[in-house]
């Protein structure tokens, strides 16, 4: 029998070694790495929304959302934007290199609440990565949901993540997929504008629609405003928050966000729960 490489409940502070199987360039500064746990513990179970603490030996550890398919438990995928020490070190890694992984940690996206309702997914930039497992799961259980819309905004056409998959999803009859960019050169046939402009067309029954948002906080703020304008209740809006982390298990307080610890109370929150602290610069 295969063991379970998810260490969140058994040894949450000990990184398990993973071997890199593949590094794929997604856009200029974004790449995905696919890894496999070493040894017997070759299965990794997670629910969409969860993240891992990924350790580059000798450099440091960072929280990264899982961006792969939850049904494929023998490999683990993270999609990463290189911004600093650890993420740049990850970008330099190759097939066969080793990293450490602790996790998975955190709360999942609300699938039970979404069942029977329309679902609108709004992603900005690299925020599509933590939502991709949601899309895989919704599609695997397609009959449990009403209309599903994926709305995606990026800076420009070159920054759109997962281009081939977006095309494939767009080709499905049971999915509404719309993308927009802030600006584009001539030749781009898609939308130009902000992602919030895509929202009105995607919502037909606001009382029975659940929204899941991921992107930079400022983008999520504008998105929440537009969803509210379209009549969606705060309790049906979910978003995922990011703060610096250290322990990832609610001990160190690094990720504190008002009264919440993002690592254990989140990262996925209902807007209703965080609305008094969301977007407050001092928090």
């Amino acid at each position: 029998m295969q063991g379970n490489a998810s260490t969140a409940t058994t040894q949450p502070m000990i990184p398990l070694p993973h071997r890199i199987l593949k590094v794929r360039r997604e856009t200029g500064d974004v790449f995905s790495i696919e890894t496999q746990p070493e040894g017997d513990e070759s299965d990794f179970h997670f629910v969409p929304g969860q993240f891992n603490m990924v350790y580059v030996f000798g450099v440091g550890e960072v929280p990264l959302s899982i961006s792969g398919d939850p049904a494929r438990t023998h490999t683990l995928t993270h999609t990463i934007r290189s911004v600093g020490w650890v993420t740049q070190a990850l970008k330099k890694m190759k097939k066969g290199d080793r990293i450490g992984v602790r996790g998975p940690f955190g709360t999942p996206w609300p699938f039970q609440e979404a069942a029977g309702n329309d679902v609108v997914i709004v992603a900005g930039g690299v925020g599509l990565a933590p939502l991709r497992p949601v899309i895989y799961k919704l599609l695997a259980e397609r009959e449990q949901y009403g209309n599903i819309s994926i709305l995606y905004g990026a800076r420009n056409p070159d920054d759109l993540l997962y281009g081939k998959e977006l095309e494939k999803w767009r080709g499905r009859f049971d999915l509404h997929v719309d993308a927009t960019v802030d600006s584009a050169k001539r030749g781009w046939m898609g939308n130009v504008g902000v992602v919030t402009q895509l929202i009105p067309k995607a919502i037909s029954d606001p009382d029975n629609t659940l929204a899941m948002i991921c992107g930079p906080e400022i983008m999520m703020r504008f998105t929440v405003n537009e969803l509210q304008k379209q009549g969606i209740e705060n309790s049906n809006i979910y978003l995922t928050m990011e703060r610096n982390m250290k322990c990832a298990i609610g001990f160190c307080g690094h990720c504190q966000f008002g009264p919440e610890f993002i690592c254990k109370d989140g990262p996925v929150f209902s807007y209703e729960r965080v609305r008094n602290i969301f977007g407050k610069r001092e928090i």
Partner: protein, 153 residues
């Protein structure tokens, strides 16, 4: 020929407009069609009309100095664009070209300005509607300027 009134009445921009105004609007309206790739107007041209898009997608472009033109906005079915007809010197501030086949209603700005001068209630009603479009676009432009997707998550 069929009257354009039902089409105007159905367009979201004129939602809940008092029925008496449609007759006035029809007098300034014409049906237009642009093939994919066709230029609707260039920056600096006389802005003598505005458009209610019924079908298709229009790209609004600006050319930064010494650079290729960039698409800064796209406008689709159900939307309206062009407010330069309201403000002197009545010139377009961007280029517009059809990305797909576009069917639209063009409303003659000079004709409508005259009607608004004669009937200030109509003028006020239209200005309110355009003002909300302009504010929305301004808000979107500000968000685009903030580079929201590049920001730290």
């Amino acid at each position: 020929m069929k009257s354009l009134q039902p089409i105007l009445e159905e367009h979201p921009f004129f939602k809940e407009l008092e029925p008496k105004y449609f007759e006035l609007l029809v007098g300034c309206a014409s049906n237009v069609r642009f093939e994919a790739g066709e230029i609707l107007f260039h920056e600096g041209d006389q802005a003598d009309r505005f458009f209610l898009v019924r079908q298709g997608k229009v790209a609004l472009e600006m050319a930064p100095p010494n650079k290729e033109p960039m698409i800064i906005d796209t406008v689709e079915e159900g939307l309206v664009f062009g407010w330069s007809w309201m403000v002197p010197p009545y010139q377009w501030h961007f280029d517009a070209h059809a990305l797909t086949l576009v069917r639209a209603i063009a409303i003659d700005g000079k004709c409508l300005r005259k009607k608004c001068e004669e009937d200030h209630e109509l003028g006020y009603e239209l200005f309110k509607r355009f003002f909300s479009v302009v504010t929305e676009r301004l808000q979107h432009t500000r968000v685009q300027l903030l580079d929201v997707y590049g920001a730290q998550v």
